[in-house]
């Protein structure tokens, strides 16, 4: 990829101005007890409170609003079945245009309902990547919609970077900023925003040890494919894209791995101590710190982006 395709801080700032009327400027939470237990000063950017329940709404809104009027009129499409699909559906509805979402037949009912609830036009397909891509191509051909990749796209990265922009505006002077890494859209935007605002800030990512393709990509110097991974952090299963790989390679200081038990421990800590619901993927950065106590973060001011809050809840007496 050419450097031209990598967003700058100014692109993130423009994205923020563009999406501001549609998004929540989410709060930053702290917990004295978490700080005491872990021995650092944590600032949690609560994207679980973002519309659609995840940071994905930032990038999706920015991508939709950045289209030309001609493109926009024909609508947008994607074949993600997770938060990006719901986010794109709402972003399109806000812009008054259709969102065509290709989903595998066996997607969880709750995700189908979310996308449909935001007005997304769903086309079901077989649960293979091949079927998803060919079905998407068919829908594009029929409708002329613009395919919005969930992370490997300039305006998606710029949009996701606005969460870090807000965090650093609310809490300047952080020593470390962290985000989880799946496809790398959030991490890329976070890294660009943070390093541009404060070149001394340390940017770390948390990745499930059971899905460490981004970690291996950094080590090997080339994008490693995602592999069938057994992790509760189901939002972090995708591989990096060429664009996010480029950004992460140049701007992220370290990817810390998080074994499964630490994901659950971190999630429990956040649920119980902060009384907020986050999805497992959001617990990975904190869990990665807990799993790596000697990585040099003790006593530091650490900003963590809690990426989302969409998870299945079972209530019982």
């Amino acid at each position: 990829m050419s450097v031209n395709f990598i967003p700058l801080l100014s692109d993130i700032q423009e994205a923020h101005a563009r999406i501001r009327p549609y998004i929540h400027w989410t709060p930053v939470f702290s917990s004295i007890s978490i700080n005491e237990i872990l021995g650092a000063e944590f600032y949690f950017k609560c994207e679980n409170f973002q519309k659609v329940g995840a940071f994905k709404f930032r990038g999706a809104t920015n991508a939709v609003l950045s289209l030309s009027p001609e493109e926009l009129a024909k609508g947008v499409g994607t074949h993600s079945s997770g938060n990006h699909a719901a986010a794109l559906a709402l972003a399109a509805r806000n812009a008054g245009v259709p969102a065509y979402i290709v989903m595998p037949r066996n997607a969880p009912e709750i995700k189908k309902l979310a996308v449909a609830g935001y007005g997304g036009i769903i086309t079901y397909c077989e649960p293979t990547l091949e079927a998803r891509e060919s079905t998407m191509a068919m829908v594009q051909q029929k409708t002329g919609c613009t395919f919005i990749h969930p992370y490997n796209r300039f305006q998606i990265i710029a949009g996701q970077g606005t969460a870090a922009l807000e965090l650093l505006d609310s809490k300047p002077g952080l020593d470390i900023i962290m985000a989880p890494v799946g496809g790398g859209g959030l991490l890329s935007g976070t890294a660009i925003a943070a390093k541009s605002i404060d070149p001394d800030i340390i940017v770390w990512a948390g990745e499930p040890e059971n899905a460490k393709d981004a970690y291996l990509s950094m080590q090997s110097g080339s994008i490693q494919p995602a592999f069938p991974a057994n992790t509760i952090a189901d939002g972090l299963l995708t591989s990096l894209g060429p664009l996010t790989f480029e950004v992460i390679r140049n701007n992220v200081d370290q990817i810390l791995l998080c074994p499964e038990p630490f994901i659950t421990q971190a999630m429990r800590l956040i649920w119980e101590r902060m009384k907020i619901i986050i999805e497992p993927s959001s617990a990975v950065p904190l869990g990665a710190l807990m799993a790596n106590p000697d990585a040099g973060w003790k006593g530091k001011k650490i900003g963590i982006i809690l990426s989302g809050g969409n998870c299945e809840i079972k209530l019982s007496n």
Copy 2:
């Protein structure tokens, strides 16, 4: 009880000034989707984010800080095993004095740990009210501590009223304000604050249908005892006290009953849509509205105090 013993708005305001350095001014959350689903405009006062995870910390702090220096030096005591015990322990620790907590041996481990974690000095007793009271009397005799009733006490009611004070400061012009009712401390403080600030505001309570002693007390005109109740809202099992009964009788417009399934439904709605953790007792007011759709609240601006967020969480893959 003489009217002298009932707090006025000025007492609640003084309580607020007194406890302000120790408490969180908790945020007020809204959810467009909950508003759309239920057809009213809701403002949720998030006492689940209060220190100790519940509004109880307001009253406990006010009660501790209102003692004379001589009383204070000897410490405070209570035989609640729930949020009040933890709240009193932390309030006492903040004031640098001991808190003597009498707990039944079979209290949940998590509650014992919470009280001990805040520095409470625990004396265990048999799990009967008689044993609790006699053990408490013994501890008082030995230590000279002041017994702080969890709700039937002037300074507790004044302290609990500060949550409504903040809510009405943040969101003036509410049509209806609601709190759950157990012993009636929160409801009493809420009613006094709300009716004093705005005589036209409607004050409602939500009570589990399976534990409707407060409802029956209002109907019969005399305090009805709590009965062994099968409800998930385990914070609302106590009967009213003479003081809270007096306040509620004169200031609360209606107690709406909430059948068990509506408690769970309301709790799920709040967990899933607002991404915050509340305990079952906190869901009772919203559940009571859902169970009584014709009570006249549709289309209104409704403030609801979410009383706390302490509940056992089981995480699974």
